[in-house]
């Protein structure tokens, strides 16, 4: 059975989504559990795959329908794709478990369709990561995008318009990629990545191949919302329901960057990408613009999820800039950031889900007094925020470490400056939220017997949720004087435990980033990059 692992990873979610779509019509609870089981199986098999690849050190090749490489479609799972597989299936699995309640309320009697699309989206991403065929990648890209449009389309009142813009730009991006594959096909006659990699070096100076590279890259840049073409991302991620945003935000841009890495390194060999074309200066300039724009506009946002979307645009800038530095540190920083950023964004969007569940709206200003009300969630959120800012023990710092040292090695000091600048802006962003969450409105300090500034202790309106005055554990029992009962109201356990698990994962990822780089990413980067 283990020889069929690559097939299992993709086929189990696909079959499960079909069964879930059908089951939705008979019983409203079944689709959710089908989806969860399927994602779990897919996660386990991708972990086994990663273990197998790391153990043997050689890429696994799986021929679909039994036909060898150039003729049929072949799955190639090397270190890089195995790692990204694990990330995708993990994020999808945790996000689904964490939002069981939200799914029931928001998608009332459409659970079958929702769960099917959810699993199809994951299957699309998994297929894209594992495939070794350029055209097959386009088909899976379309599956992921279409199910993404559907998942995002059902949200707030403005969601359809935002999704329509996302659809238009997404289609332009995907079709440009298709055109790029077409140009490759007309020049070489083959669609298989490995096969193309052997043909391209022989026709280095043909303008068709050059244009294929440019148009492919433009298409992917549109899909990953880099600065000039980012228009669709903030609307799409902030207007949609939190469940779908929790799935799509951490994954779409990261997997598109994985595809860019795959194409630039495996299809157009590094000698071609960095030797012949050498797009470092232009791409790093675009990345710097994207980082600065993303950070500054995130500063101006009032809405929490919209702020996160602009941070994602900045993170895309990190990865694109890091990758196109061209040296080993930069590229491994970009790849490590794919893993770290997916985990961070998942944690932040789950936190957004909990905040919306708690306060009912998405404004940052309504997060008043959350430290007292739900200390564990806020502790997790602080960890995730620190990871985005880049504070050492968390994973965000270490991918920044590689990116910055890559930037210094490549002499791109503007990129290094942009990274530092965006870390500072992130610090301001999140500490603004900590401030709001820390300082309850009704808090005032009593001066015992102090004549000068006799501040009479006004109790003000004690913000305690009217609907929730139950005998929760009196948090400030040990407080000597009471200034209004602070009622602990943590979110329900199935929502809280996955979230805290992800936040702890951020720490673990940070501490073990060294070993991730050494025995996974080190082999993922071809020797062509020094």
């Amino acid at each position: 059975m283990t020889s069929n692992l690559p097939a299992l990873v993709i086929i189990v979610p696909l079959l499960a989504s079909l069964v879930a779509a059908g089951a939705g019509w008979f019983n409203r609870k079944a689709p959710f559990y089908i989806a969860v089981i399927a994602l779990l199986i897919s996660f386990i098999s991708s972990v086994l795959l990663l273990a197998q690849v790391v153990a043997t050190g050689v890429a696994i090749e799986y021929q679909m329908a039994g036909w060898p490489a150039p003729v049929g479609i072949v799955y190639v799972i090397d270190h890089l794709s195995a790692m990204v597989l694990v990330v995708i299936t993990f994020v999808a699995f945790v996000n689904l478990i964490g939002n069981r309640q939200a799914v029931e309320t928001e998608f009332k009697n459409k659970e079958g369709a929702f769960n099917a699309l959810y699993v199809l989206f994951t299957a699309g991403l998994v297929g894209m990561t594992a495939t070794g065929d350029a055209f097959n990648l386009y088909v899976l890209l379309e599956i992921a995008s279409l199910s993404g449009y559907a998942l995002i389309g059902l949200g707030s009142s403005r969601a359809p318009l935002a999704t329509l813009n996302y659809l238009f730009l997404g289609t332009i991006g995907a079709t440009f990629y298709l055109l790029g594959v077409g140009y490759l096909y007309i020049a070489t006659g083959s669609l298989n990545m490995a096969d193309l990699a052997t043909i391209i070096p022989s026709m280095m100076n043909s303008s068709t191949i050059l244009f294929a590279f440019i148009i492919c890259l433009t298409g992917l840049l549109v899909k990953m919302a880099i600065f000039p073409v980012h228009g669709w991302l903030p609307g799409a991620y902030s207007e949609s329901s939190t469940v779908s945003a929790g799935l799509i935000a951490p994954l779409t841009t990261k997997v598109t960057i994985y595809i860019m890495v795959r194409i630039c390194l495996t299809l157009f060999t590094p000698e071609y990408t960095f030797g012949y074309i050498d797009p470092t200066d232009i791409m790093v300039a675009i990345a710097v613009a994207s980082i600065i724009f993303g950070s500054l506009s995130a500063l101006a946002q009032k809405d929490f999820k919209r702020m996160l979307s602009y941070i994602i645009i900045a993170e895309v800038g990190y990865m694109v800039g890091g990758f196109f530095l061209g040296n080993r540190m930069g590229v491994s920083g970009a790849i490590l950031h794919i893993v770290n950023d997916a985990a961070m964004t998942l944690a932040l969007f789950m936190a957004a889900g909990i905040f919306i569940w708690k306060t009912g709206d998405e404004k940052q200003s309504s997060l008043k007094g959350l430290y007292a009300k739900m200390p564990f969630t806020m502790a997790g959120f602080t960890l995730a925020a620190l990871s985005v800012v880049g504070v050492p023990p968390t994973c965000g710092f270490f991918s920044k470490w590689y990116l910055i040292s890559g930037g210094i090695a490549a002499g791109q000091y503007l990129f290094v400056g942009a990274l530092i600048f965006s870390s500072l802006i992130n610090a301001v962003l999140f500490f603004r939220i900590f401030e709001i969450a820390l300082f309850e409105p009704f808090k005032s300090h009593h001066h015992a017997g102090d004549e000068e500034d006799k501040v009479e202790s006004h109790h003000g309106e004690t913000i305690v949720d009217p609907g929730v005055i139950e005998s929760a554990q009196q948090y400030s029992g040990s407080d000597s004087h009471d200034h209004g009962a602070i009622v602990i109201k943590e979110p329900p356990l199935p929502m809280l435990v996955p979230f805290l698990g992800v936040c702890v994962l951020l720490l673990i990822l940070g501490l073990y980033s060294g070993s991730i780089v050494n025995n996974i990413i080190h082999f993922a980067i071809p020797a062509g990059i020094i």
Binding site: F135, V139, E142, L146, Y149, A150, G153, S157, R158, P160, L161, T163, L164, L167, F168, T171, I172, T175, L178, L179, G182, Y185, I186, L191
Partner: protein
């Protein structure tokens, strides 16, 4: 003259470029959402035209192996199909072997056009239809929400909404 022959030789590819630019322009610059959707479809069709034009070979027929051309083959093929229908093992074996042998000599790649782009474009057409369906569904929801399909009116409502 060299320029002119160059243009003539490549002129056929220009058709897809022009079509693609029309589609792209409509997608970017048009105000009405449905016109944008139409532009998107034109844009995707242009790519389909490009792919199919790659597969064309002068003087080749459609990629279906004519039974007529190798008479024996056709009889054998019919015979083979007939035998398969009966499910008799050894007769089918023999028929299939004969067909393979006959096919070897008769089929030359030159006679048939390249089938691969056609397969790919089947997929692209289907993807185009699917995207069109979802886009129309979304446009309908936008219309239900804002009462208009003109982008500037929608933005107006958003600004003072």
């Amino acid at each position: 003259m060299e320029l002119f022959s160059f243009i003539v030789a490549k002129a056929d590819y220009w058709a897809y470029v022009i079509l693609m630019m029309v589609g792209l322009y409509a997608l970017i610059a048009k105000n009405n959402l449905v016109k944008k959707i139409v532009g998107m479809t034109i844009f995707q069709t242009a790519i389909i035209l490009f792919y199919v034009s790659i597969g064309y070979k002068k003087g080749a027929t459609i990629p279906i192996l004519h039974h007529g051309s190798d008479h024996g083959g056709e009889a054998l093929a019919a015979h083979g199909a007939h035998a398969a229908a009966h499910g008799t093992q050894e007769v089918a074996e023999q028929a299939a072997h004969a067909v393979a042998h006959a096919g070897e000599a008769a089929v030359k790649a030159m006679d048939y056009i390249n089938p691969l782009p056609h397969v790919l474009m089947l997929t692209a057409i289907v993807v185009g239809v699917a995207t069109l369906g979802v886009a129309l569904a979304l446009a309908m929801k936008v219309y239900k929400e804002y009462g208009t399909l003109e982008e500037d009116e929608i933005n107006q409502q958003l600004r003072n909404g």
